[in-house]
């Protein structure tokens, strides 16, 4: 490796590595009720936001979405009753129904949502590997066939030229 190449590589690495320098490690300063509110969907119906983040435009002029504020107050009430985070979430789901989940529960039918992406990936990977091995076998068989024949037809030669040209052109 030449000196210039090394310098360039190092400079490039440093430039890219500098990006995370911008990141500041922080502690959440928002109250716990709002933090928990992020795990419950706002019931206003006008957005897909959580109760902790719903600023649904069209809500009351004097503040964020009224329903979100009510839900946060309820969460605070549960916290005041010394409920654990899990108990608070369960109580909110009990009150607002499964439509209040921000993510499906990892049980019952909700589990299907979690399993599906993994299944797609595994099934897709299996399919790709199957296709690759099939293509490779076909390629090997074709090579054997070409190797066993004594002459190469002009059509085959032309086709090979075309393929080689395609494969090497910039």
């Amino acid at each position: 490796m030449t000196r210039a190449r090394r310098r360039l590589t190092i400079a490039f690495a440093l430039a890219i590595a500098a990006a995370p320098a911008a990141v500041v490690r922080v502690q959440a300063e928002i109250d716990h009720a709002h933090e928990l509110g992020k795990q419950i969907k706002c019931s206003c119906g006008g957005c897909e936001q959580s109760a902790g983040t719903c600023y649904h435009v069209g809500g009351a002029f004097s503040g964020p979405c009224d329903l979100a504020k009510t839900m946060i107050k309820e969460i605070q009430g549960h916290l005041d009753e010394r409920m654990t985070d899990k108990q608070v979430i369960a109580a909110m789901i009990k009150e607002y129904g499964p439509a209040a989940y921000m993510e499906p529960p990892k049980e019952g039918f909700g589990l299907v949502a979690w399993l599906m992406p993994g299944l797609y990936l595994v099934a897709g990977a299996a399919l790709v590997i199957f296709v690759i091995s099939k293509w490779r076998k076909r390629g090997a068989a074709a090579e054997t066939a070409v190797g066993s024949s004594k002459t190469v037809s002009p059509e085959m030669l032309e086709r090979a030229r075309l393929l080689a040209q395609k494969a090497t052109e910039e």
Binding site: A22, V24, G59, F61, E103
Partner: protein
């Protein structure tokens, strides 16, 4: 003007109907005159749609409050600028606008290829006419923007009347980005119709060779570019207006726009395998079909009320029309495929699993899995209601958990793909190509760790971003070095020359670099900080290195709204840096309110300040402040992606010389002779 517009739209319907029916007859009879007349009918339909669209804009600008659509989406005090934009603010107008954008594409295709591809174009024209006819049917008979206000008069007969003023434009739409976000997104959606038409036409016509794929690729890139810009503008709009501190909430409508983008991206990669090696023909045709299906499905989701969304138009029965159309399209595609599937037989085999072809296969796999995961997550509430009777909602946390690993896998493949050779990569080549990118990537990861990044995904993301950027940098370095040795140009000029010589390959690298920047920005989300606090005038709130001082509250009266705003002085390390004015706006016409976020944006972080309202008990204003690291990288990355796409669309300099009859430089001998033995020549990403 309403009669003129309505008549023009109806006439456009008739022309499109003729273009479809005549097109089918022309394909069957092959009569040149019929082919020509159907093409002209297609062109006429486009011109008529243009006139109808202009007439709706005219009705808005002239405050014609006898029109129901104008009343619903405009008012006298609305700025003229927004009156024009109001065209696409509602169901009816946006569908007409969709027709309009589609007609621009169709017009361009019919004119550009009027004397070319004689075997293919009648099929293309007919398919395009079919799609256009569907949207014209909707705009004419289901959701017409030309409905006038009428009520039963004293005599019992229908009497037309005009309102004194309109209801106004929805508050959240009165923002400059809303002017350019929908046109870009719609241009993406409608643009995917062109590759669809070419793919289906080639399959139906059994069009020989790969010509159609070259044509399709270009149009796909244009549509993909618009879709990318549309998605990013939408994200920026959500960030700057909605006031929840983020830019991507996995809303069903956001997801709908992402789906065709994912499959379109997969197609732009897998198409190279067909061009280079004659492989993946079936896959490519179906990718184009699926991308088009997803565009229609996205429209269905947005407009039918199947899923709840902040973006969705009013619930209507329009969804049934889209379901019907989607089913017809699927049946036609399946029929065409089963009839002519032998036409799509692959010409080549795969030589090795360690090859460019394999990396594209896995790239396609990840993109498709991400697409299906987003789609099934979006529709999961509907499925859960069907199967269990209760709607289980799926929000951002689910989508993040599922898609972050997939995104990182894709980022990894973005780096790996260009380092692998077509057909087969030797062990020596692997070592040579991967050594430095891996070292640089690792250095990036270690650097991030030392700087305090502990979040696993963020750390992996920074490592992979460094790795991918290194692969791109090394590719550029190698190519530019050869040119520099040959021509004596400086590094920058050599890099530019290199890009211009193979725009497709190096445009692709620029796009990849833009994606790296976007990923860096996304990784920053792991470190968001927020504070919500009641703050009296003169009070302060601190976040990170910033201190915010509420100097005063004031009110400003604009023509169309009243704004209550905070005047916030931002200090960093006790030095004033900026005054911000977060607002809450009240629009009397529509009895709506909206936020206007104030953002102090740097490459390092965004200080995002929301006037969250007034505590009704204490009467104190509440401020919600976010410190969002690296957000600007997302927007800059988007700009780089667009620039790369434009570069990739340009003809390569060598090709331009050949077209101009100039002498094409000899490649193999001249190029190779100038290359030092230490530099390996290898196929790149093109």
């Amino acid at each position: 003007m309403d009669v003129f517009g309505s008549f023009a739209l109806l006439l456009a319907f008739v022309c499109a109907l003729y273009a479809l029916a005549g097109g089918i007859a022309a394909i069957l009879t092959r009569r040149p005159l019929l082919i020509k007349s159907t093409r002209q009918a297609g062109i006429a339909a486009c011109c008529l749609i243009f006139m109808a669209t202009l007439s709706v804009v005219y009705l808005f600008v002239t405050d014609n409050f006898s029109m129901a659509y104008v009343v619903s989406h405009s008012n006298r005090d609305l700025a003229t600028f927004f009156k024009v934009v109001a065209l696409w603010s509602g169901q009816e107008g946006s569908l007409l606008f969709w027709c309009f954008l589609l007609s621009i594409y169709i017009f361009s295709v019919l004119i550009t290829y009027r004397n070319k591809h004689g075997e293919l174009m009648p099929y293309v024209g007919t398919i395009l006419a079919g799609v256009q006819l569907f949207f014209l049917t909707i705009s004419n008979f289901v959701a017409s923007p030309f409905k006038t206000l009428a009520a039963a008069g004293p005599s019992g007969g229908l009497e037309y009347f005009a309102r004194a003023d309109g209801n106004g434009l929805t508050a959240v739409l009165q923002y400059p980005e809303m002017v350019i976000h929908p046109p870009n997104l719609y241009s993406g959606y409608t643009g995917f119709t062109i590759p669809f038409a070419f793919a289906l036409a080639a399959l139906l016509a059994r069009y020989p060779g790969e010509k159609w794929i070259h044509l399709t690729r270009k149009w796909t890139m244009i549509a993909w570019c618009f879709q990318t810009v549309g998605i990013l503008l939408g994200a920026h709009w959500a960030y700057a207006v909605l006031g929840w501190g983020g830019y991507w909430g996995w809303d069903p409508v956001e997801n709908a726009s992402l789906l065709p983008w994912l499959t379109g991206t997969a197609f732009l990669h897998s198409v190279m395998m067909q061009e280079k090696r004659g492989m993946m023909k079936v896959w490519n045709v179906w990718l184009v079909f699926i991308t088009f299906f997803l565009c229609i499905l996205g429209t269905l989701l947005t407009r039918s009320g199947v899923v709840s969304s902040v973006h969705a138009f009013a619930q209507s029965n329009i969804g049934n029309w889209f379901v019907g159309f989607l089913l017809i399209v699927i049946v036609v595609c399946l029929a065409a495929y089963f009839k002519n599937r032998d036409y799509l037989k692959s010409e080549n085999q795969l030589d090795s699993i360690v090859s460019r072809e394999s990396s594209f296969l896995f790239n396609n796999l990840v993109l498709l899995v991400a697409c299906i995961a987003v789609l099934s997550g979006t529709l999961f509430p509907v499925f859960s209601e069907w199967f269990t009777g209760s709607k289980i909602s799926v929000g951002a946390p689910f989508f993040n958990k599922v898609n972050i690993p997939l995104g990182l896998l894709l980022l990894f493949l973005t780096g790996v793909g260009p380092l692998l050779a077509w057909r087969k990569t030797s062990a020596e080549s692997l070592r040579r190509n991967f050594l430095w990118p891996c070292i640089v990537g690792l250095a990036g990861g270690i650097g991030a760790f030392l700087l305090g990044v502990r979040d696993f995904y963020a750390l992996t993301c920074f490592l992979l971003c460094t790795f991918v950027a290194a692969t791109i940098g090394i590719e550029y370095y190698r190519g530019a070095k050869v040119i520099r040795i040959r021509s004596g140009m400086n590094w920058l000029s050599s890099a530019v020359e290199l890009t211009l010589r193979n725009t497709r390959r190096y445009g692709g690298y620029i796009v990849h670099f833009g994606m790296v920047m976007i990923f860096i920005g996304l990784a920053g989300q792991a470190f968001t900080k927020e504070v919500q606090k009641e703050i009296p005038v003169g009070g302060t709130v601190a976040i990170g290195p910033y201190e915010l001082l509420l100097q005063a509250m004031d009110q400003k009266q604009e023509k169309n709204y009243i704004a209550q705003r905070m005047i916030v002085e931002v200090m960093k390390d006790h030095k004033p840096v900026m005054i911000l004015f977060p607002e809450r706006r009240n629009f009397p016409a529509g009895q709506e309110s909206g936020t206007m976020v104030a953002i102090y944006s740097t490459l390092r972080e965004d200080l995002y300040v929301v006037y969250a309202g007034v505590n009704q008990g204490s009467d104190a204003p509440t401020v919600h402040v976010f410190l969002n690291p690296l957000v600007k990288w997302v927007w800059f990355g988007g700009v780089v992606v667009v620039m790369g796409t434009i570069v990739a669309l340009l003809p390569s300099r060598q090709a331009a010389l050949a077209l101009a009859g100039g002498k094409v430089p000899e490649r193999a001998t001249g190029f190779a002779s100038a290359v030092p033995s230490s530099v390996a020549l290898r196929e790149g990403h093109d």
